[in-house]
Every structure is written in structure tokens, then in C-alpha cells.
Symmetry: C2
Subunit: 211 residues, 2 copies
DNA sequence: GGCTTTTCTTGACAGTCGTCAAGACTTTCC
DNA sequence: GGAAAGTCTTGACGACTGTCAAGAAAAGCC
């Protein structure tokens, strides 16, 4: 954008870059909202623009194409959710407290962010078909696995017994439980969130070897 | 199609109905293949027709619209896969045999039917967005849960200890493991199938209470 | 054989899609 | 002030979508 390197120019440039990526983030937020409402298959750029305060042409000013927009969305989504349970891990003073905090937090995000989770599973699946999203999907998935492992390993530590499963298996298990609960929740099973909490707490307990 | 009830007419009618639903099944198979290759978002009726020996117009002769076609596909898919492990359950003479058979069968279907499984997860997710698929998705999901439970409960029986989880939790756990393995397998992790087998056998063992 | 019904193809329709270019508007800078 | 750079809108393009109607082709019937 600028090749001169005077201080004022640099400051200008930086400010512009900031503004540029601020708008990118703003548009990505609109895209994220649209995607979480409609799903990948039914989301168009015009629809995204209508959920923002701009016209559809501006998307190509801030993003090269649809793939770059969605990729940016996915990355933005990741940053928000990948530390979801860290607070609970740090604050928990006992195994029991961690267990209940984790179960409650999963049930809470199921209730509050259901459409966003639904989108994540949709996009993760798109990554199985389309090469373009694959790298980001795998990256986020690994981050989520580490996030879950922080919970499980800390729980084992507090409980005084080592975990009985690998990080990958632990993640797969809680992901399976969550996905099932999401299906139930979004199809109107009222007990879905409460059941999830119960199941998560029960399973977490079984993931450390009994002494 | 016919209101006369002479025997020859009935026989004709029945033959026609059979032929009609045979062709439906044939077209649904083409659709299933296309869907499993491209995913729901990228599959069009013309593409499906190109994967069959007919032209695109014929789809509207056998199916009211796209939704009915895909719904029919999903039902057809279900019939094939919902009894996948029943043979193993019946044949297994010991807990150990069942455990290894189940692990091997899961790994085998991961390798052989990966794109079909990918499609199933895609369509299950579409059910979270689109009302139209929801009923069939939920129906199939429950069938799968029962299928898994036949394995787990039989295993517990053979092992002489009751299961430590509910049918829903058992299904969620193995579904999570399988989905993770599918992600690994389709993104080129060579050990995905072998890992799945190991994990499934290990987890199944943990799902019965130790005595 | 001809007649009727079923089956399939062709071509068109109205609409939507991602993309992009031309230009208007806004902001920034000297 | 005016020039320059950045930002946004508008309208168009070719391609693709699901749907449907008209009629050709095939099969079944007497």
C-alpha cells in the first residue's frame, strides 16, 4: 500500500491497516452470523452483505473470494472458542469442582451458542469435501483437542489418578457427546442440555483410572 | 394408476409399481454416489443425472423435487448400514472375539465406505439447518444408536458385567471416535483406521464395569 | 398392424450465484 | 482550496440452479 517509510506515512499505513482489518472482522462477523443461521450450503455473499450495513460488492474489496472470506470467518471463530474452559481449569480448586464446572459450561455453551456450534460441525464437514478449508479445519480441531485435554489432564491431576485415555480419544468422546446433545437440543429435546451435563460429568469421572 | 381390479390388471400394476420403484432405487443410487463424492452443498440434479444413464429431466418423473430425492437416498442408505455389526454380535462366542470383531469392522468400514460416512455426517448436519431432512435424520440416528447398543450390551453380557453407560452415551462415544477417525483418514493420516481399531477396542472394554 | 400408456429427452423458464469493472462518494494529505 | 488515495455502490456478465412442459421414443395391449 505504501512504499515510503517516513514516520507519518508509517503511522498512516498502520492506521489504515488497522481500519482495514477492523472492517474485515466486522464483515466476517456478519458472515459468521449468516452462516450459523443458514449453513454453508445456503449462504450466499449477497445474503451476508444484507446482514451487514454494506452492499454485496464490498465483500470483494476486503476478501479475494468466497473461500478467503469463509476461511477468515473460521479463524475468527476459533479465537473465540478455543479457550472456553480454560478459566474453569484454572479456577477449580478440586476435582469435583472442575467436573461440575466443566459439565455446566458445556451445557451453557450448548444453550447459548447452539447455532455457532452447528456451523462449526458443518464447516468441519465441508473440509472433508473441499480441500480449501481443510488446513484451517484441522488446525482448529487440534486446538479443540488440546483444550479438552487441559480439562481432562487437570482433572486427573486433581483426582490423583492418571487419565485412562489419550488426548485424541478424550476429545473424540466429548465431541461425540456434544454433537449428540446439539442434535437433541436443536430438534427440540428439552432435556438435551441437562442430559449433556450429566453425561459429561459421568464420563469425565470414568476417564481417570480408579485406584 | 389403475382402478380396474381384474387379476391381469393387478399383476400388471404390481409389475409396473415394482419397475417404478426399481428405477427410483437406481436413480437414488446415482444420487447417493454423487452426493458422497461432492457433498450436499455441491450436488445438483444435473450432476446426479450425469452419474446415471439418464437425462436430468427424468428425475422429476420419479421424484417430486430435490428434497424427496435426497430423502429417498437417505432412507436407502439407512437400510444398508444399520445392520452392519449384527453379524459380529451374533457370531461372537466370547467377549474378546466380539471386541476384536467390532474394532476390525469399524476400521474396515472406515476404509471401504469413507465417502458414504462423510455423506452421512453431512446430511445429518443439514438436518440441523433444514427442517425437511430432520425426521429421517433422527430416525436413522436412533437406529444407529440401537445398533451400537446391541454390540455394547452383548459385550457386557459376554463379559459378565453390566454396561457402565446408557445407550445414548455409548453411541455418542463411538460416533465421536468414528468421526475423528474419518477426519484423519480422509485427510491422509495413514494410521487412522488402525488407530480407530485400537481405540474402539480399548473404549469398549472400559464401558463395562470392572468387577 | 394400430392405439394407448408409460417412460424419457429436450429445451426453455425464472431465479440465484460468484465475480468484476466503472464510477460515485468519502477521507486524507499538502 | 484541490489532488490523491481509499472506500463503497451499482449494475452487469456468464454460469449455474430447480422446475416444468412439450413432445419424442419405447413398451404394452388389443
Amino acid at each position: 500500500m505504501t512504499q515510503v517509510s517516513s514516520k507519518s506515512q508509517e503511522r498512516l499505513s498502520r492506521r489504515q491497516v488497522d481500519k482495514f482489518s477492523e472492517r474485515r472482522a466486522q464483515l466476517a462477523a456478519s458472515a459468521l452470523q449468516t452462516l450459523s443461521e443458514l449453513g454453508y450450503a445456503r449462504t450466499s455473499l449477497r445474503e451476508i452483505a444484507q446482514n451487514s450495513e454494506f452492499s454485496h460488492g464490498v465483500l470483494h474489496y476486503y476478501f479475494r473470494d468466497k473461500v478467503e472470506l469463509i476461511t477468515h470467518c473460521v479463524r475468527q471463530y476459533k479465537a473465540e472458542c478455543v479457550t472456553r474452559y480454560d478459566r474453569i481449569v484454572v479456577d477449580a480448586g478440586s476435582a469435583e469442582e472442575l467436573r461440575q464446572g466443566f459439565g455446566a459450561a458445556m451445557a451453557a455453551t450448548l444453550r447459548e451458542d447452539a447455532t455457532l456450534h452447528r456451523l462449526w460441525y458443518d464447516l468441519r464437514n465441508q473440509g472433508l469435501f473441499e480441500e480449501s478449508f481443510r488446513a484451517d479445519v484441522l488446525d482448529i480441531d487440534q486446538s479443540l483437542e488440546r483444550m479438552i485435554w487441559r480439562v481432562v489432564s487437570r482433572y486427573a491431576e486433581l483426582a490423583g489418578s492418571p487419565p485412562s485415555v489419550s488426548p485424541g480419544v478424550a476429545y473424540a468422546i466429548f465431541d461425540g457427546l456434544f454433537q449428540q446433545a446439539l442434535l437433541g437440543y436443536l430438534t427440540g429435546r428439552d432435556s438435551a442440555a441437562a442430559d449433556l451435563q450429566t453425561n459429561v460429568e459421568q464420563v469425565l469421572d470414568q476417564l481417570v483410572v480408579r485406584t
